[in-house]
């Protein structure tokens, strides 16, 4: 009886510490009906991690699979943080961007990960192998699965082919917020891509100045989602940043034809029009952008554009101004 009570206390203590909630794998019949029962990407390279350096090893694995010639030693200089004895997720994204690859973060569920593996893409995952209060953060690469045996195959740490139980993996993965990353070449798309996730990843290339890779990704996105204004906005922004204002202006106009309420396209078109002396048109677009941006995080930036346009002079009647 006493032993039983002890066992119950221990169980409660561990459950409280680990948050021992059981996480469903989400593998409903509908979610996996389109997947092959077994996949293993045997050609994915393996790099045994050096001490604490699972980040560089896992990242080298997925980058090489996306045709980037890079070693874990090279990547240690980019993503290993000595003072933290580990690597941060954001630095893995950054190192992917500077190599002109699209860091696509997957939806937080197992079927979304398996679907990438089935399409031939290894998935970099974060796990917490320890407990919530005593975490042991780890990066590994998922390279295969077996739906019947309910197992997953990982390149992990110093183990080239680690076979783990699905439910057990999901527990460690859930403790790392179901973080999963695929590294995609900019002229390709991940399997079953999500517009917002893909555009965010592509736009992050633009944001750090990888303009050619960003443009490739935007072109690919435009082919996939012809009705979305965002790829056009992205391409116009790349043109602008490269100094091709003519293409940029055409691009913003095209984007506004797809979505008249796109704040970025309105704002940036106002900027260009003001720059070439079309003040009345610029004011119209800036005012519209300011109205759309009210209450959003863009409000102050758009208001600044509107002020700049309002104070702009040098009316210039030669050029054709009216575009929309």
């Amino acid at each position: 009886m006493r032993a039983l009570r002890h066992a119950a206390i221990v169980w409660a203590a561990i459950a409280a510490l680990g948050g021992c909630a059981s996480y469903p794998t989400g593998l409903t019949t509908a979610a996996i009906s389109h997947l092959p029962a077994q996949v293993e990407l045997t050609q994915v390279p393996f790099f045994a991690q050096q001490q604490y350096q699972c980040g560089p090893a896992a990242l080298a694995t997925v980058l090489q699979s996306a045709d980037v010639d890079v070693s874990p030693q090279d990547l240690a200089e980019d993503v290993y943080l000595p003072g933290r004895k580990g690597s941060l997720q954001m630095e893995l994204l950054a190192a992917t961007r500077v190599r002109d690859r699209v860091p696509y973060l997957l939806p937080e569920r197992l079927p979304a990960v398996l679907e990438q593996v089935a399409a031939g893409r290894p998935v970099l995952v974060m796990q917490n192998l320890g407990l919530k209060i005593a975490p042991a953060w780890h990066f590994a690469v998922l390279i295969g699965y077996d739906l019947t045996a309910r197992t997953l195959i990982l390149r992990s740490g110093t183990t080239q082919r680690l076979v783990v139980d699905m439910d057990r993996f999901v527990k460690t993965w859930a403790r790392a917020q179901w973080w999963g990353l695929v590294v995609v070449e900019p002229d390709q798309l991940p399997e079953n891509p999500d517009l917002e996730r893909y555009m965010t990843a592509a736009a992050s290339l633009e944001a750090v100045g990888r303009l050619d890779a960003a443009a490739q990704a935007y072109i690919r996105a435009r082919a996939q989602w012809p009705h979305s204004a965002w790829p056009a906005v992205g391409l116009a922004n790349v043109s602008y940043r490269k100094g091709d204002l003519r293409s940029a202006e055409d691009g913003y106009v095209a984007a506004l034809e797809l979505d008249a309420d796109n704040i970025i396209a309105r704002n940036n078109l106002a900027e260009i029009l003001a720059g070439r002396g079309c003040i009345a048109e610029a004011r119209m677009h800036a005012a519209r952008a300011a109205a759309l941006a009210a209450g959003t995080p863009l409000e102050s930036a758009v208001a600044a554009t509107a002020r700049g346009v309002d104070t702009a002079t040098s009316p210039h009647h030669g050029a054709a101004c009216s575009r929309l």
Partner: protein
């Protein structure tokens, strides 16, 4: 004379900080695609510190965390403004993937718990 010189320098500095008379105003800055997507996704998110300040803070933090001087700029180059702000605030306690080497500590904690609730009796063996 020296006072006048100092005053001039101070005013010039203030003017340059305020962006007055900056020759770089030739091309206005556009709004990035990422800013638009992030704005559409999240609700109002007040940026507590600006991008430039965040970059400077992360530079110092990386230095303090042992990144070699020559590697810091290359590492900052791939980070977005939003990421820099997050790092500036949380670089010391964000999850850092390390691998199984940390597990020794976890085993120790579990043993301690088991000891505390009386299931095991390892530690009392050592006086």
């Amino acid at each position: 004379m020296a006072g006048l010189f100092r005053k001039t320098v101070v005013y010039a500095l203030i003017a340059s900080l305020l962006g007055l008379g900056s020759p770089m105003a030739a091309q206005a800055e556009i709004l990035g695609t990422l800013a638009g997507l992030e704005s559409a996704r999240r609700g109002a998110d007040l940026e507590r510190i600006g991008g430039v300040l965040a970059r400077e803070q992360v530079r110092e933090q990386m230095h303090a965390l042992g990144v070699k001087e020559g590697q810091i700029e290359a590492r900052l180059a791939g980070l977005t403004d939003a990421e820099l702000r997050t790092l500036a605030e949380r670089i010391d306690n964000m999850p850092a993937g390390a691998g199984l080497f940390e597990l020794v500590g976890v085993v120790f904690v579990v043993l301690l718990i088991l000891e505390a609730v009386g299931v095991i009796d390892i530690f009392k063996k050592f006086p």
